[in-house]
Symmetry: C2
Subunit: 202 residues, 2 copies
């Protein structure tokens, strides 16, 4: 695992992670053997273990690489002028960019999180970070009077994330097209939670 050439090390390690992602998407995490990853990466088991500690370590690397779905979605909201518009926009871009491939990989990762306590803690921390960012954005929007005045920023952030996560899981079970199809309903539900003016109360 230790090596003297950090460039080569990083390069080879990345190649292994890429090969692993290809295998995981194609066959799932537990159906792909180390031998499969070796073949895809074009190296022997001994070499592979020179750059990577274990199969679990590969997953951890992949998680760090893509740093979670939600961050790309949430980060831009922090300094948005119009919170609601920015959130809906992010959801649109997210839905457009998503593929079955991503959903499967995301679910494979989610599944593995539960089994490796260190991974689980890392994921819980990433979750809390997302929630803090979103909560801050909501608090800012509240300050502008853009949202229903009695919202608790933290609770609301948690509920929005839960809603999006649940919709993603439904799409994972039913195919990625399902997420795009559910987008209007999702926006409507979010609009009602936020009680954005114009999305209206009777």
């Amino acid at each position: 695992m230790r090596s003297r050439d950090p460039d080569l090390n990083a390069e080879r390690r990345q190649a292994i992670l890429d090969a692993a992602v290809s295998c995981f998407v194609r066959q799932g995490f537990h159906a792909t053997s180390m031998k499969d990853i070796c073949a895809e990466a074009g190296m022997s088991p001994g070499t592979l273990y020179h750059y990577v500690r274990s199969k679990a370590d590969i997953i951890a690397g992949i998680i760090d690489n893509q740093a979670g779905f939600s961050r790309a979605l949430i980060e831009p909201l922090a300094e948005a002028a119009d919170f609601r518009a920015a959130l809906f926009d992010a959801l649109d871009r997210f839905a457009a960019g998503i593929a079955d491939r991503d959903l499967v990989l995301n679910a494979e990762i989610g599944a593995e999180l539960l089994r490796q306590p260190s991974l689980r803690e890392r994921a819980a921390e990433a979750d809390r970070a997302s929630r803090r960012t979103l909560s801050a954005a909501i608090a800012a929007a509240l300050g502008q009077g853009a949202l229903r005045h009695d919202l608790d920023p933290d609770d609301t952030a948690a509920m929005l994330l839960a809603l999006i996560d649940g919709a993603l899981w439904q799409a994972t079970l039913n195919g990625s097209a399902h997420f795009a199809a559910a987008l209007p309903a999702l926006k409507a539900a979010i609009g009602r939670i936020l009680s954005v003016p114009g999305d209206g109360c009777p």
Copy 2:
């Protein structure tokens, strides 16, 4: 697998499933070997395979046994006089009855669903059934004028299930106590989605 005594067959099979649940909760699905389950159930591998087709078959049996979290939650809503009150009540009972053990098992099952296509289809079907039941209950409540009039029953059912599912996942990452703590926020969000009178628009 075939046997002549259906009673013994069912009894032994159930004993295997129970032993497997104990192991899965304790160690997770992939960390428990068939040998572990054999030891817990007190039989040899050959005998175990006499009553059970494979490890995946054990999971399928467990899924059928508990038939999903959501059914117990949703079924009573079908003929409820007050939909909102019944839903909140079901959530309360649900939160009270839930333990870390259940969340872990639920997540282990969810993880495995993705890998076994037949299990996945079964889960998707169960999901659609939950959604139909909930949708019908919402439609009935709409007919009584108890909910915001412009709700689409099907979309709303999907969003409520997504929200609850997402909250369950957050609790799975952060411990089961998290679900009870999130209950007020969850009810508030649901109330806003439904725009139940009195839970109010400004």
